[in-house]
């Protein structure tokens, strides 16, 4: 399966990345493209910018492990994950997940699985700047719950 994992400071073009994954392929019947975007508001306060810190080396390795786990679980024909690092301003894209499969159920499920794990297991930390202060974002237990639903009995390897 064709898979691409990239960390970068620059923005990305979701459409171009999806097109790259499917170009010339007649076996792909479904492509799901998810883009996470920097919101202009956090807990009711306007956001000036967001800075993403990451653990170089581990971030790439951890994402690659989850792409492999997704591949074992669904018959995927392609995956592209791009995660930005550094300082972003509201409305800029943060993360891209593209999954390709013969059928939509597999592409939808794999994209959701990958996003849920990116949120809780990939070593990235967000710091939000508002007009008067800058603070690290707290992890949400609701994100842990979303990731935990993929850890069905016999499927523990992806959650561990």
């Amino acid at each position: 399966m064709a898979s691409t994992v990239r960390l970068q400071r620059e923005p990305f073009e979701a459409d171009a990345e999806a097109a790259k994954l499917t170009r010339g392929r007649t076996d792909i019947g479904a492509v799901v493209t998810f883009t996470g975007i920097c919101r202009g508001e956090d807990s009711g306060k306007p956001v000036v910018a967001m800075t993403l810190e990451h653990y170089p080396g581990m971030a790439e390795a951890e994402i690659a492990r989850h792409v492999e786990a997704a591949e074992r679980r669904w018959p995927l024909l392609g995956v592209t994950i791009i995660h930005r690092v550094g300082r972003l301003i509201p409305a800029e894209p943060i993360v891209l997940v593209v999954t390709a499969a013969a059928h939509r159920q597999d592409a939808f499920a794999a994209a959701e699985f990958l996003m849920d794990y990116l949120k809780t297991r990939a070593p990235f930390w967000k710091r939000v700047e508002s007009a008067d202060r800058s603070a690290w974002i707290d992890a949400k237990s609701s994100d842990d719950d979303l990731a935990a639903r993929w850890a069905a009995p016999g499927r523990r390897e992806a959650a561990e």
Binding site: Y55, A61, H83, V95, T120, A122, P123, F124, K126, W136
Partner: protein, 110 residues
């Protein structure tokens, strides 16, 4: 004669210290991220943990006794996550053989 004895003693000490160095755990690189890094005041360092420190949890306890900044970073060890050589681990994981150990808050990417 006295000189000779001194030389023998010195060479014995040399052997002893070399032997001890081999038995000790090799230097391990520690890396800190996000507010753990800010509280400790540095992104990384190399340490030589004492022989009694065998797990990630014990390493956190030992680190927290190194100074106020470490005590502050590890004041609630339950929320601190750890990785050994780029893989997530639990507090009971052994540190033996680790080249790089990282401590960080729960992740907030995506």
């Amino acid at each position: 004669m006295l000189c000779q004895q001194v030389r023998i003693a010195e060479s014995a000490i040399g052997t002893l210290s070399r032997g001890t160095a081999v038995e000790r755990i090799a230097l391990v690189k520690l890396r800190y991220f996000a507010w753990v890094r800010e509280r400790i005041g540095k992104p990384e360092e190399e340490i030589d943990p004492p022989a009694g420190v065998a797990t990630i949890g014990e390493l956190m306890t030992w680190l927290s006794q190194r100074g106020e900044e470490y005590a502050h970073a590890f004041d609630n060890p339950k929320v601190i996550r750890a990785a050994v050589d780029h893989t997530h681990v639990k507090p009971d994981a052994a540190i033996k053989g680790a080249r790089e150990i990282a401590f960080f808050p729960p992740m907030t990417g995506g």
